[in-house]
């Protein structure tokens, strides 16, 4: 029934100082394991190297994000998430781990704009130091009243990820923060 599958925001888009778009359905797998002991298996399945703290690495159509000392979030094709879980479970057979498809538990937003406007807009909803956040490093943080994560894909494009149930809240927060009259000019 994947043809009937819907992302939480169903393609929502807003434009202002920056542009905010629903990324649609994204594949996501949570892996909890002893990361040092799992590096080989993870690389074998994803093609990506084991990331260091807060970092993200890239494989074939797959990104691996460090979430905590014993947790990764693997970003992949939505349709391929179950297969990813199966492949990880097979590669880690005999080793204590938990791999689970969480694709539908979250929403992913793309935020694009000038480097300064992009960080200024995000700085209205998170206490994280965005000037100090390098490209391809995931910052798990607070998006005003909910938990979420931010990373910069490039200097002018960011991803915001949050739980599915609050996707509309986070989208509305960003859309409000990006309204044209609210330029700050700080970053």
């Amino acid at each position: 029934m994947s043809e009937l599958a819907l992302s939480a925001l169903a393609g929502a888009k807003a434009t202002g100082l920056v542009t905010i778009e629903d990324m649609g359905l994204c594949g996501m797998v949570t892996l909890r394991a002893d990361l040092a002991a799992s590096a080989g298996a993870v690389e074998q399945v994803t093609g990506a190297a084991m990331p260091g703290p807060r970092a993200m690495t890239t494989g074939q159509g797959v990104q691996v994000a460090w979430m905590s000392p014993d947790e990764l979030l693997i970003l992949c094709d939505h349709a391929g998430a179950d297969a990813m879980v199966a492949a990880l479970s097979q590669a880690l057979a005999g080793q204590h781990h938990l791999a689970v498809n969480v694709s539908d538990a979250r929403a992913v937003l793309r935020v694009t704009g000038g480097a300064g406007a992009l960080r200024d807009t995000l700085a209205k909803i998170t206490p994280a130091d965005l000037a100090a956040l390098p490209v391809q490093e995931m910052r798990r943080t607070r998006l005003q009243q909910v938990a979420g994560a931010i990373w910069f894909v490039t200097d002018t494009e960011a991803r915001v990820i949050c739980f599915r149930s609050v996707a509309r809240y986070v989208f509305d927060l960003l859309a409000m923060s990006a309204r044209d009259g609210g330029a700050v000019g700080y970053h």
Binding site: Q145, G182, Y186
Partner: protein, 1012 residues
């Protein structure tokens, strides 16, 4: 009378005019004016009334410290009270009205309060609150309610149409104040490579220096300021912000700044205010100093102003506060006002100097111009009712015998200056008394400290007590160098050098004249907004108030919206003298943030309207909304309470939903239930610690209901556990429990049993869960087409299976919270809406009826199932609820087991769960108590139980309830009296409702309906 001068005004644009209204009168001003300067230019000397005596009040200052010029600003839904005219930028279309007067500003009936001040002495409220009680209620309270209060509260029906936002910033150094000290500090820090945020609360850089004739590096201060700002704007590491006040400094370098973005352009797209939430390693408070009033009789009359404010209005705005201005001072700085007035061609009849001698360069300059300087003199009376017409002079040293009358229409007073040490003090910085300047300044040995234990706030320039412009920059340079050193940075660039006329020492003057009698002291105002006079503070001291904090609250000195910016030092000097103590021993009150009031909107930020709180939506949320759901908030979730049809009441809708479910088919969105995966070799052992019952022996493919308790023994959550495979469990929690229980699990795994091999993952939102409930539940799923065998044999009650149903990837759990045949079907959240639609479509022939939380609650109560939050309230243990069957006797340990062994927990007198049936079939009131004989020590009726859940059961056609009752399970059939909220009839007892103790399972006790 005040007026606009023909020329001058460095901050206004005379080529353009803007119009505004004050009390309905159309007035004009210029861009660059503040509302205060425009009002003065229009000759509006009286701008408000004081709080207690309703005395006429005029503009006294030119900045944030002004206590008097508070107005209602804006109209309709933009109306806001207590806005300071001195800090309000004038804009076209501004609407202001004066406050606290009736019937008019110029003639106020409340002014009679001033004629009877003996009825309203210091501590008036405390004294009259006590006795006589009836006198307070019938006499004082009505009068006070009529006359007290400042401004008019906004109409609650008017929502604020503007938007607000927060902004988080991280930096090395925040500099508060864009005067010459702040600018110079920013230049040095910027050159040293620090990331700097420089904030100035007004709309202009430069502070006082351009008005005061300071020269910096050979340039007039104004030109130097322009150059400095130009240089700073070029520095990428320096961020400049005007109209942005550092409101507070908090622990670990947390700084709040209040930016007024669009106050002067209402209706645009910009946020009106922005609250900056800054983390800064260091803070430099270059916040300057505030001038103090002098305490002479009549010092509160409109037309009496601070001396520096007078020259601000002349130089900055081309406004003359008066045509003939008497200067009264104890220092040299006020002579600058005399010179500025003289420069503008305005008359200065005399300069009254309380010091026995005055010979500084500024004094000499005044004398050289032929201005009359009277030393050793003071003012003993100000003549005029609604303005100044003359002052009477006396010797400062005596009791106030009149020496001379001087005709004038304004008085410029200066009692010296106090450094603005607020930001230093907000986070615990201590002060030291400066004898020479008669002010408190930062004690460099006791700064506010950060997370490393090091000082992180420094005052620079006048704020550090370096009041004289010549030394301000030198001080700022020293302070900045120390701050740079804390970063291991420095700059070789020299600090600018300021030149200003030298000043002779000031003389502390706390009362004028020095030996004034009681009558005169009752006319010397300390706090102009709250009407606190020298006599009030002296009375407080006589009545035993020795602490400055107590005196503040007793007299209300410093409690006005200006928070004592003008009254603080004068008040505590009077108190110290009355107590015969040194000022530093009496100490000062605590400076607390914000520096000046900030808007509620800025504090709330974007959190209003649809994004006031995160509203959690299930994948079927839009369907519910489109189908008329009446919502119930459950935590941040919104769940449908019921789905009323056109014209249907909520109760009728609930009854219909229950009837349809029990008769045929109901469908519930159960997606909000928490779902947590627990996996690992030690998962069974861990689950056994979490639950009171034994879970580890659960077979894969099976479900079991379980109870979770806190370590304190109390029931905290319940739900069904499904065993997915040998080392994986799926834990279902309550809707509100998912995050809490996941955190609880992680707490024990990370902090207590970290050697156990268990991983958890909260997958609540990965799944949409739909309960398909009722006699036709199996039929509808089979009609959908399923590769899972849904028969009672293959999938019995409390079993689960995985497969495809109607083409959807599904997990099916045979669990029931209604007592009906029930399948809870979980599909990936992205497919939830499609599956829900499919069920409605295929279920139509069975009358598929979506039901909400209320039907869910009633059906579970009919079955006697407990609900966390109804039957439990944080003081209830499973044993209270007759759930002993769910408490394992085999386990050595589980969370809460030890606590449940305590004497109080095993007390047989604990109230226990029973069902309750009213004799007349009515519904017991929620929260009702079962009455017992007698009364307790407080005279309240004794009780022997309480109602925990109560509903009308449409299935049974009567009220049903559950409750906790003393020895309840042993008293089946007994009838108890329950109280109601209905009042007792005259002479009679309050009505009660009789209910019989019965089993809590009201419907299908054998479970024949669910086990099919």
């Amino acid at each position: 009378m005040s007026t606009r001068l023909a020329t001058g005004g460095r901050l206004i644009d005379r080529s353009r005019t803007v119009s505004f209204t004050f009390n309905g009168k159309r007035l004009r001003g210029h861009p660059g004016d503040t509302l205060a300067s425009a009002l003065l230019a229009a000759g509006q000397v009286i701008v408000g009334r004081s709080f207690k005596y309703h005395r006429p009040r005029g503009v006294m200052a030119s900045g944030a410290e002004d206590p008097n010029a508070l107005v209602n600003l804006g109209a309709g839904n933009r109306h806001e009270p207590n806005q300071r005219a001195t800090t309000t930028a004038l804009f076209d279309g501004l609407v202001a009205t004066s406050q606290n007067h009736w019937p008019s500003l110029n003639w106020d009936i409340g002014e009679v309060n001033a004629l009877v001040p003996r009825l309203l002495p210091a501590g008036f409220y405390y004294k009259t609150f006590i006795h006589p009680r009836p006198f307070w209620k019938h006499v004082f309270e009505p009068i006070i309610r009529q006359s007290a209060g400042l401004g008019r509260a906004p109409d609650p029906r008017h929502a604020d149409p503007d938007r607000y936002e927060h902004f988080y910033a991280h930096t090395d150094l925040v500099i508060a104040g864009g005067g010459i000290a702040g600018l110079a500090a920013a230049l040095q820090a910027g050159r040293a490579g620090l990331r700097v945020i420089l904030c100035e609360q007004t709309a202009h850089w430069g502070g006082r220096a351009p008005v005061d004739g300071v020269e910096i590096d050979g340039l007039p201060a104004g030109e130097w300021v322009n150059d400095a700002v130009e240089q700073l704007e070029k520095m990428e590491n320096v961020h400049l912000r005007l109209n942005c006040m550092i409101a507070g400094v908090y622990d670990h370098g947390y700084v709040i700044a209040y930016e007024r973005v669009a106050d002067d352009s209402p209706g645009g797209d910009a946020p009106r205010h922005r609250l900056w939430r800054i983390r800064s390693a260091q803070v430099i408070a270059a916040t300057g100093a505030l001038e103090r009033p002098l305490s002479f009789p009549g010092n509160d009359k409109p037309g009496v102003m601070l001396a520096a404010a007078v020259r601000d209005y002349v130089v900055n705005y081309g406004v003359a506060p008066g045509a003939r201005t008497v200067i009264v001072t104890n220092n040299d700085d006020a002579y600058r006002t005399a010179l500025a007035l003289d420069d503008a061609g305005l008359a200065v009849p005399c300069i009254v100097d309380a010091r026995p001698e005055a010979n500084g360069p500024l004094v000499q300059a005044a004398r050289a111009r032929g201005l009359r300087v009277l030393t050793g003199m003071g003012i003993c009376n100000v003549k005029g009712l609604r303005g100044v017409v003359a002052v009477q002079l006396c010797a400062q040293s005596g009791s106030g015998a009149v020496v001379e009358d001087v005709i004038c229409d304004a008085v410029a007073m200066s009692g010296g200056w106090s450094p603005v040490v607020h930001l230093w003090s907000h986070c615990g910085g201590k002060l030291t008394w400066d004898e020479a300047g008669a002010f408190f300044r930062p004690d460099p040995m006791r700064p506010p400290t950060n997370q490393s234990g090091a000082g992180f706030v420094s005052c620079a320039g006048a704020a550090d007590g370096a009041l004289w412009a010549g030394e301000t920059l030198e001080n700022a340079g020293l302070i900045t160098r120390r701050v740079l050193e804390s970063f291991g940075s420095s700059t070789d660039h020299p600090m600018p050098v300021a030149r200003a006329a030298a000043e002779a020492p000031m003389l502390p003057v706390w009362m004028m004249p020095e030996e004034a009698g009681p009558k005169k002291r009752a006319k010397m105002w300390l706090d102009f907004q709250n009407d606190v006079k020298v006599s009030d503070v002296q009375l407080a001291a006589r009545e035993g108030y020795e602490s400055v904090e107590h005196t503040k609250r007793y007299t209300t000195i410093g409690m006005a919206t200006d928070q004592g910016k003008l009254s603080n030092i004068n008040g505590l000097a009077i108190l110290a003298k009355a107590l015969d103590e040194d000022i530093p021993r009496v100490g000062t009150t605590t400076f607390r943030p914000p520096y000046t009031p900030i808007s509620m909107g800025a504090i709330a930020g974007e959190a209003r309207g649809p994004i006031f709180q995160p509203l959690r939506r299930t994948p079927m949320h839009d369907w519910h909304e489109a189908n008329g759901a009446h919502w119930e908030p459950v935590g941040h979730w919104r769940r449908p309470y019921c789905f009323p049809k056109q014209g249907e009441s909520h109760r009728d809708a609930v009854n219909r939903e229950i009837a349809a479910t029990r008769a045929s088919l109901g469908v519930l969105d159960a997606s909000t239930l928490g779902k947590i995966i627990v996996k690992g070799p030690d998962a069974g052992r861990f689950i056994d610690m979490l639950y009171t019952n034994l879970m580890s022996n659960l077979k894969p493919g099976k479900c079991r209901y379980g109870l979770m308790c806190s370590e304190n023994g109390f029931l905290m959550d319940d739900g069904v556990v499904a065993r997915l495979d040998d080392d994986t469990f799926l834990v279902h929690t309550t809707t509100g429990g998912a995050d809490r229980i996941h955190a609880h699990m992680e707490d024990w795994l990370q902090c207590e049993w970290w050697d156990w091999q268990v991983y958890t993952a909260n997958v609540t939102e990965q799944w949409a869960q739909i309960a398909v409930v009722g006699p036709k539940a199996r039929a509808v799923l089979e009609k959908l087409g399923s590769d899972v065998d849904l028969s009672a044999e293959a999938l019995p009650f409390m079993g689960w299976a995985e497969g495809r149903i109607g083409g959807f990837d599904a997990r099916v759990f045979r669990i029931s919270f209604s007592g009906e045949l029930s399948f809870e079907v979980a599909v990936p959240a992205s497919q939830g809406r499609a599956f829900w639609d499919k069920i409605q479509e295929v279920g139509a022939e069975f009358g598929a009826t979506p039901y909400g939380t209320e039907a869910l609650h009633v059906m579970r109560a009919e079955k006697g199932f407990i609900m966390i939050g109804d039957e439990t309230d944080g003081t209830v243990i499973p044993q209270d609820l007759g759930l002993d069957w769910a408490i394992s006797k085999k386990k050595d340990d589980y969370l809460g087991k030890r606590a449940q062994e305590r004497a109080h927990m095993t007390d047989p007198a604990r109230w226990k769960l029973v069902g309750l049936e009213t004799l007349d079939g009515s519904v017991l009131p929620d929260g009702s108590y079962a009455l017992a004989e007698g009364v307790n020590a407080n005279g309240q009726r004794n009780t022997q139980g309480r109602v925990t859940s109560t509903y009308f059961s449409p299935t049974l056609g009567r009220g049903i309830a559950m409750g906790l009752v003393l020895h309840g399970p042993d008293r089946m059939g007994e009838v108890l009296d329950f109280n109601t909220t209905k009042p007792a009839p005259k002479g009679g007892a309050a009505p009660t409702i009789k209910a019989r103790i019965v089993s809590p399972v009201f419907f299908d006790p054998e479970g024949t309906k669910q086990n099919v």
